[in-house]
Symmetry: C2
Subunit: 517 residues, 2 copies
């Protein structure tokens, strides 16, 4: 730390220059190898520097250039996120000094050596994280150091610190309900049916959702087909006051900035421990002011949870954290063997949702049933409702058209979306290679295919399913249709589907297997 | 993987452009947000891409720019290391596709979840690492995932894989000796005395050393004051054939490229587990063809090892790995309570070394004694030498001037260095604040101060010590002198020394403490 703390007066300042490089989450700055004020060799071994102007400071990772056209010898180049976060105009004078890592990283090193975090250490880590003071490498160290074990005390401290780092929502209602699915199942767009049913009943359900990062659609991506979802916390309040519910993108509300940052490293590394999943979800619910929360855990061979044992361990963690923070948490396991609904990809999923809400005859029955079941659980949180009548009430609200009307109210309140929302006209039908019953559907492979076809960037790209598990199929009959906007992407998805369709076709009568030795 | 494997034919190629950005170890490429061939949004969630031209492929991390002057819509910008490693001329056409992480990362995820690596998995990881296929984040995942535990089988597999990834040296002599210190002690430049003694005796000692990364000098930095050290494996062979010894920088010989990469992540994270330290050292010794190895473990309150228990655990690991690979390993613990010698920083340390070799009256006695002791151990490996006479033989070679003559031969063989080698003329004396005996010297703080003064980049910057532990000092007498080339850096070092000199001055007679209650 000594190297960084005294340099302001002795090193000549450099001029801020904006460098058009989108470096993602990480702050990156560039100096000239011929810098008039700094000798880049000094920074060997210190790839991190601190920029200062008055009381403002920014920690960043340093790159060096020989190109005077990019950064001159009297300048320091700030990549897009660093420029935005530092918030000083081009040409402003700043001092730059070698910087040690944030002090809270000492606790991370201790954790890696097998010590547990103290609550104050977790507070400091989350504070540094959410102020962009950790490099990607340092974030990885925190995540992986924590992955080997996390005590219950650490988990609670983490949830509290993550919730405290962002926007805190409060509501005038004593009961604020929410639902959350841990994801992994294609389609499965139940929130867009549950929210209007529950809001139509009169309970408050201010739903924030994520966008897809590695899946073909998140609820925010699908809702965006119908309405604007990048809504601020203030607008959200107005919409919920008017409609009792909303379906917006959580990113704009900034409920848990630390979680957004952690996810940006977890995802490329594909590291997802139970404790981190619970901390991520519960910190957002705590910040969002939820009082009653229903958690949906799909279980299936290609779901995130493979069996009931794994689901129970996760359930206990959710209940433990919920009890500690006074959130009434209910956890249910659901069938995660195959997609829910027929569409995979924003436009195709939105069509399923609207078909269910409009009570259309061809609406997917599995999506309808699952949504009613989830809504029934939430409605039972209403003290006014007679116990056990939640399902009937949910079905009434759906069948009467009250839920559809509520959805239209929410769409109107959120306003129109600017995004393209036609279905992909370039298509290819993937057909059965033989006769039999569909015995397995690989959720991971269907997600991959829909994404390869262009979802979620191309809203109308994705997959429309014609067969589900147990359905009879004959050779040459279509299993599903791939939709795309772009021929190259359709070709890629078709090639991938030819290698692995994601479908297994079993014997005509599965029972006959029982006669085999 | 499906996304990356079919894209060659369907995506139009981009033209290679060299972008003057030194991004350190990591391969980074830049595409335009308005790319004619790629839609950058496609890469959301895939920050890694694969470049292909014919059989050549490169994995890289992707940044996006809006600046057409930096990268045009039909171009892909390759930062310096990526450009160098891909090895294709500017203007060459390449295809670019989203890339999954290397497959070997699956084993890293398993390790994080508590499984042990199989040897083949470690081979695959080290192979991917040394071909620059891991991002910094992924390297951190490997290091930290391995930090929680490493089985003895994993450690052996890691040493073998790391040694196999680089240059393998072979020697015509049956006995090839080497010494290694785990570092952390300022000064302590024993190799530069031990090598000429041992080579003068007639044993083969082809010594490769590291440059400082976070310390004020490595042996390679100090030797560079006297001779060129960036010597290739071929040149090294010639020098050793002529002189029996050398003192060169290991980086140029490429003995363990995977280790160089692992260190580039370990250092900024300050993560240094025993197993990784042993794997790093032993893989290089195995690749260097050493048959007999002496390991120096300094023990002291501010050394890397705080007590004899820690030292013993590390000793056992070295012995275990040495036995397995047939290297005769001897491990000794040495006094690591304070610097060895009086100089800290390349020129000041080189002065100490030459004073010892020249048998000057004012040469530091501790550096001389420690070097003789280490040389004695190495000389005992010579079957021709009568047991127990190693120390006397080493002293004879030093006192007769044979060692100095050998050093001059090695310097001549390696050739002159181009670097500046005058002592820093800007100085400041740090003085005792009271009377007493020096009771403690903080190695970490002295390293920090010497580095702040400019070492090792400024060869003549650093610290010259006037007092060691146990020496009498009166108020106002100088403890040490800070040397620098640059006034700003001297000022910084002086300010840091005023906050913490690194010296503790105790009671006049330490025994008198025993009379206190």
């Amino acid at each position: 730390m000594a190297e960084g703390s005294d340099t302001d007066n002795s090193r000549p300042p450099l001029k801020v220059r904006r460098v058009s490089l989108d470096t993602g989450r990480e702050n990156i700055v560039v100096i000239s190898r011929h810098s008039s004020a700094l000798r880049p060799e000094i920074f060997r071994g210190f790839s991190r520097v601190e920029l200062k102007r008055g009381a403002k400071a920014l920690l960043a990772t340093l790159l060096i250039t020989d190109d005077d056209a990019l950064v001159g010898s009297d300048e320091i180049g700030l990549s897009e996120p660093a420029f935005r976060r530092f918030g000083e105009a081009a040409g402003s004078l700043v001092t730059v000094s070698p910087a040690a890592s944030p002090e809270s990283l000492d606790a991370v090193r201790g954790k890696i050596q097998g010590r547990a975090f103290k609550p104050a250490e977790i507070d400091a880590i989350i504070n540094d994280l959410s102020h962009y003071r950790y490099s990607d490498m340092e974030i990885a160290a925190f995540l992986i150091g924590s992955a080997s074990f996390m005590t219950s005390g650490e988990l609670l401290a983490l949830v509290r610190a993550m919730a405290a780092a962002g926007t805190q929502l409060t509501w005038p209602n004593p009961i604020v309900v929410d639902k959350h699915c841990i994801g992994g199942i294609p389609g499965n767009r139940t929130s867009m049916i549950v929210v209007p049913i529950v809001a139509a009943h009169g309970l408050t359900i201010p739903k924030t959702s994520s966008r897809a990062i590695t899946s073909p659609a998140g609820t925010a991506d699908t809702m965006e087909v119908l309405a604007r979802v990048d809504v601020s916390a203030e607008e959200m309040k107005e919409i919920v006051a008017a409609c009792r519910g909303c379906l917006i993108w959580g990113g704009h509300v900034n409920l848990s900035p630390a979680d957004d940052i952690l996810i940006s490293v977890e995802r490329p590394l594909c590291i997802d421990t139970r404790e981190q999943m619970v901390a991520s979800i519960m910190s957002k619910k705590l910040a969002a002011g939820s009082t009653h929360l229903l958690i949906d855990l799909p279980v299936g061979p290609t779901a995130k949870l493979a069996n009931a044992t794994e689901a129970m361990r996760l359930r206990k963690l959710f209940e433990f954290v919920g009890d500690h923070f006074g959130i009434a948490v209910e956890v249910i396991t659901t069938d995660g063997r195959q997609p829910i609904g027929n569409g995979i990809g924003p436009v195709l999923e939105a069509e399923d949702v609207m078909a269910v809400l409009a009570n259309e005859a061809n609406a997917p029955a599995d999506l309808r049933e699952k949504s009613l079941r989830l809504a029934a659980h939430l409605l039972e949180y209403d003290p006014q409702l007679r116990g056990g009548t939640g399902y009937a009430r949910a079905r009434d609200l759906l069948e009467s058209g009250a839920a559809l009307k509520k959805m239209q109210g929410i769409i109107d309140a959120q306003g129109p979306s600017a995004c393209r929302n036609d279905i992909g006209r370039l298509t290819f039908d993937v057909r059965a290679g033989g006769d039999g019953d569909v015995s397995e559907i690989d959720c991971l492979q269907l997600n991959r295919l829909a994404r390869t076809a262009g979802a979620p960037i191309d809203k109308g790209a994705g997959i429309k399913l014609f067969r589900k598990i147990g359905d009879r199929v004959e050779k040459g009959q279509p299993l599903y249709r791939i939709h795309a906007y772009d021929q190259a992407e359709l070709d890629l998805a078709v090639a991938a589907a030819k290698r692995n369709s994601g479908y297994a076709i079993g014997a005509r009568h599965p029972a006959s297997r029982e006669t085999a030795p």
